[in-house]
Amino acid sequence: MSILNIGTSALTAAQTALSTTSNNISNINTEGYTRQRAEQVTRPANYEGNFYLGSGVTVNSVERIYDSFLATQVRSYTSQEAQQDSFLSYSRQVDNLLGSSELGINGGLDAFFGAVQEVANDPTSISARKVMLTEGELLASRFNTLDSQLTQLTSDVDNDIAVGVDDINNITRGIAELNQAILEAEGAKGSPNDLLDKRDQLINKLSEYVSVTTVPQSNGTVNIFVGNGQGLVVGTTQVDLNTISDSSFDPPRLNIGFGSTQTDITNQITGGSLGGALQFRNNIIDNTRAELDLLAESIVTAFNTAHSNGFDLDGNAGGNFFDPTGTTAADINVVLTDPRQIAASSGTNIGTGNNENALALADLQTDNTLVQVSAGPPPVTRSLADQYGVIVSDVATRTRQAEVSQETQQALLQQTKQRFDSVSGVNLDEEAADLIKYQQAYQAASQIIVVSNTIFDTLINAV
C-alpha cells in the first residue's frame, strides 16, 4: 500500500471527523439532537510475506452517542412531571376559588346568618327582613357561582382531552411514518441518526401528554403502548385515540376511546397532561361538587324545615325559604320574595314581636348535626361551616401534595435530563477541542501527501 493511499485515507477520515464535529456545532440549538461521532478504525492490514503492514484509516460509521436506558427514564419522568403540573394548574384554580373571600361559602354563611340574627334582634323591621332575603340570595349565588366555575373547569378538561387526543394522533402518525422510514434505511447500511432523533423527540412529546411504554423491535421500529397495553403504534401501523361523550354526567363530559371500536380507556390513562387533567376531574371536581351539593342540600332542608315551623309577620304559617327542589350547589335559590313572609315567630304566642323562630333559624349556623356525612351507626355529622372547612381542606391538601410532588418530579426530571445530556448533548468546548484535534490530523495527513510527493520527486530525479 502506498504512502499516498494511506495519506489520502487519513485526509478523508479527518475530513469526515471535521464534518461530524461541524454538524455537532451547528446543531447545538437543535431540539432533540443527539451528538454524533465518526468512528475511525484501521483499514485491513496487508500481509507482506512476513509481516502485516497497516494501510491507513477509515470511518466505519457515524454513531449517535445515546443511552436508551436514560432516554426511557427521561420519558417516564416527563410523563410524571407533566401529570403533576397539569393537575396542579387546575387544582390551584379550585384552591383559589374556595379560599377567595368573595366566592367562598364561609363568608356567605356568616353574612346570611348574621342577617338572620338581625331579624331576631328586630323581628318587626322590614328592612332587616329584606337584608336577610338578600343575604340568602347572595349565599345561593355564591353556591351557583362556585358550581358554574367547576363546570367551566370540567369543560376546560374536556378541551384538554380533545386537543390532547388530536395531538397524540398526529404524533403517533408521525412515529409510524418514521418507523417506516427507519425500517427502509436500516435495510441499507448505517444508522439513520436524524430519523432516530426525530422519532425520540416525538416519543418525548407524546410522553408529555400521556405515559407510554416503548418496545424497540429488532428491525429498528419501536412499538408504543398506552394504558394497559393498547398499541398506538405497532410497527408501521398506527391506531387513533378518539373522544367519546359520557352523558351519565350533566353536562356530558368527554372520555377517551381507543381505536375504531372506541373502547373507553379513560380509567387506564395515566401520566402526562391528560393523566393530570383526568386525575383532577376524578379527585377534585367530582369530590368537591359532591361535598358542595351535600352542603347546599343540608342548608335547604334544615332551613326550610325550621322556617316552616314558624309564623310570618301576618300570623300565617311559614313556608319554604329556599326552593325545596333546588338542593344542589347549581340549583339552590331563595323562593321567598315577600320579607313579611319570613317566619320569625314561633307557634306559641304568635305575634309580630315574637322572634323565637328567628333565634332557632340563627342557631342552625352552629348546629353540629346539620350536615349528615354518613348515616352510621354511629352517624357522622358536621356543622355547615365545618363541612365547608372539609371541602377547603381536601382541595388544599391535595394541591399542597401535588405541589410537593411536582417539585420532586421536576428535580428528578432535571437530574435525569442532565444525565441524558451528559451523554448525548453537545458540549461546545469539547467540539472546539475536537475541531483543533481533527484539524491537526488533517494537517499531518497533508504532510504525508507532501512527503510522498517528495519521495516520488526524488525517485523521478534519480532516473
Binding site: 447545538i28 440549538n29 387544582s91 390551584r92 384552591d95 383559589n96 379560599g99 364561609n106 354563611l109 356568616d110 346568618f113 348574621g114 340574627q117 338581625e118 331576631a120 334582634n121 328586630d122 323581628p123 318587626t124 323591621s125 315567630s345 304566642n349 304568635i350 305575634g351 309580630t352 314581636g353 315574637n354 322572634n355 323565637e356 333565634l359 340563627a362 349556623q365 352552629t366 361551616a385 365545618d386 365547608y388 372547612g389 377547603v392 381542606s393 382541595v395 388544599a396 391538601t397 394541591t399 399542597r400 405541589e403 432535571q414 435530563k417 442532565q418 445530556d421 451528559s422 448525548s424 448533548g425 453537545v426 458540549n427 461546545l428 468546548d429 472546539a432 477541542a433 475541531l435 483543533i436
Partner: protein, 301 residues
C-alpha cells in the same frame, strides 16, 4: 462529568426563573400582608383560619346583638324609673288625700292630680320604641299593651330573647301584665291603672270609707310598686350580665384576632429579609449566567 453546553444554559435560565417565581411570591405576600396566598400554602392553617373567622364574625355579631339588647333594656329601664316616680307621687298624694283634715274640695283637687298622673302612667305602659313596637305587650308588639278605657291587658306573656353569647340568650322585654297587673288585698287581680282610677273616683266623691279605696289602697300601691321595682331589678341585672358578656366577647375577639393574625398575617421582618435574600440570589444567578456564557474555547481559536 461531561455536561452539555445547552444544559449549562438551561440550568442558568431555570435557576433565574425559579428565583423570580419565589421573589414574585414574596413580593405578593409583602404587598398584601397575608402569609397565605391560597389555602394550599398551609392547608391546616387555612382551615383553622376559616373556623376562627366564623367564630370572630359570630362574636362580633353577638357584640352587635348586645348593643341592641342593651338599648332595649335601657329604654325599658328609663320607662320603669319614670313609672316608679309617678307611682310614688300618686302614693304620696293618696296619703295626703286619705288624711281626714282634707275637705271635699281639697280631695277633688288631689283626685284630679292623681287622675292626670294615672294617664301618664298608662301612657308609659303603652310606650313604643323607635320602631313603633309596644314595649310591654309581649310578642303582640303592634298591639297597645293596655286598653286606655278598660285597662285590659291586650298583650301576651312572650318575652323576646337576644343572643349575646355562644350559650347566652338574654330577655330584652318584660310583658306588661307582670309589671302593671297585680293582685289587691281583696283578691282582685287588675291593672294598677284601674286600682288608681277607682281610688281617684272615690277620692273625688269624698268617699274613702270602704275597701279597697281606704288605707288598703296604699298597700295595693305598695304591692304594685314592688312589682315595678322587681321588673327594674330584672332589667338592671340583665344589663349587668350583658356588660359582663360583652367583656367576655371582647376578650375572645382579642384572642381570636391574635390567633388569626398568628396564622394568617405575614411576619414582615422575616418576609423583607427573605425578599432581600431572594433579590440578591436572583442578581447572583444573572451575573453567574453572564460570566459562564462568556466562557468558550472558541474565544481562543
Amino acid at each position: 462529568m461531561r455536561i452539555s453546553t445547552n444544559y449549562i444554559q438551561q440550568q442558568s435560565v431555570e435557576a433565574m426563573l425559579r428565583q423570580q417565581t419565589e421573589l414574585a411570591k414574596t413580593q405578593q405576600q409583602v404587598s398584601t400582608g397575608e402569609r397565605l396566598l391560597a389555602p394550599s400554602d398551609d392547608p391546616v392553617a387555612a382551615v383553622r383560619i376559616l373556623g376562627i373567622e366564623r367564630d370572630l364574625n359570630l362574636t362580633q355579631q353577638y357584640q352587635g346583638n348586645a348593643d341592641v339588647a342593651e338599648n332595649k333594656l335601657s329604654v325599658t329601664d328609663g320607662v320603669l324609673t319614670s313609672a316608679v316616680d309617678i307611682m310614688q307621687r300618686i302614693r304620696e298624694l293618696a296619703v295626703q288625700g286619705l288624711n281626714d283634715t282634707n275637705d271635699a274640695n281639697a280631695r277633688a283637687g288631689i283626685a284630679e292630680e292623681i287622675s292626670q298622673l294615672n294617664q301618664s302612667l298608662l301612657s308609659l305602659a303603652n310606650t313604643t320604641d323607635a320602631n313603633g313596637e309596644y314595649l310591654f305587650s309581649g310578642y303582640q308588639s303592634n298591639t297597645q299593651a293596655f286598653d286606655p278605657t278598660t285597662y285590659a291587658y291586650n298583650g301576651d306573656d312572650g318575652q323576646r330573647n337576644v343572643r349575646v353569647g355562644g350559650g347566652f340568650l338574654v330577655e330584652v322585654s318584660e310583658p306588661g301584665d307582670q309589671i302593671f297587673v297585680s293582685t289587691n288585698l281583696d283578691g282582685n287581680t287588675q291593672a294598677i291603672f284601674q286600682t288608681i282610677d277607682d281610688f281617684a273616683t272615690a277620692l273625688n266623691n269624698n268617699d274613702l270609707s270602704t275597701a279597697p279605696n281606704n288605707g288598703d289602697f296604699l298597700t295595693n300601691m305598695d304591692t304594685a310598686l314592688g312589682q315595678v321595682f322587681g321588673a327594674r331589678t330584672n332589667v338592671g341585672t340583665r344589663m349587668n350580665a350583658i356588660d359582663q358578656q360583652r367583656a367576655v366577647n371582647e376578650a375572645s375577639i382579642a384572642s381570636l384576632e391574635t390567633n388569626r393574625s398568628q396564622l394568617a398575617d405575614l411576619d414582615y421582618a422575616e418576609a423583607i429579609t427573605r425578599l432581600n435574600q431572594q433579590s440578591v440570589g436572583l442578581q447572583a444567578a444573572q451575573q453567574a449566567y453572564v460570566k459562564v456564557q462568556g466562557l468558550s474555547l472558541f474565544n481562543f481559536i
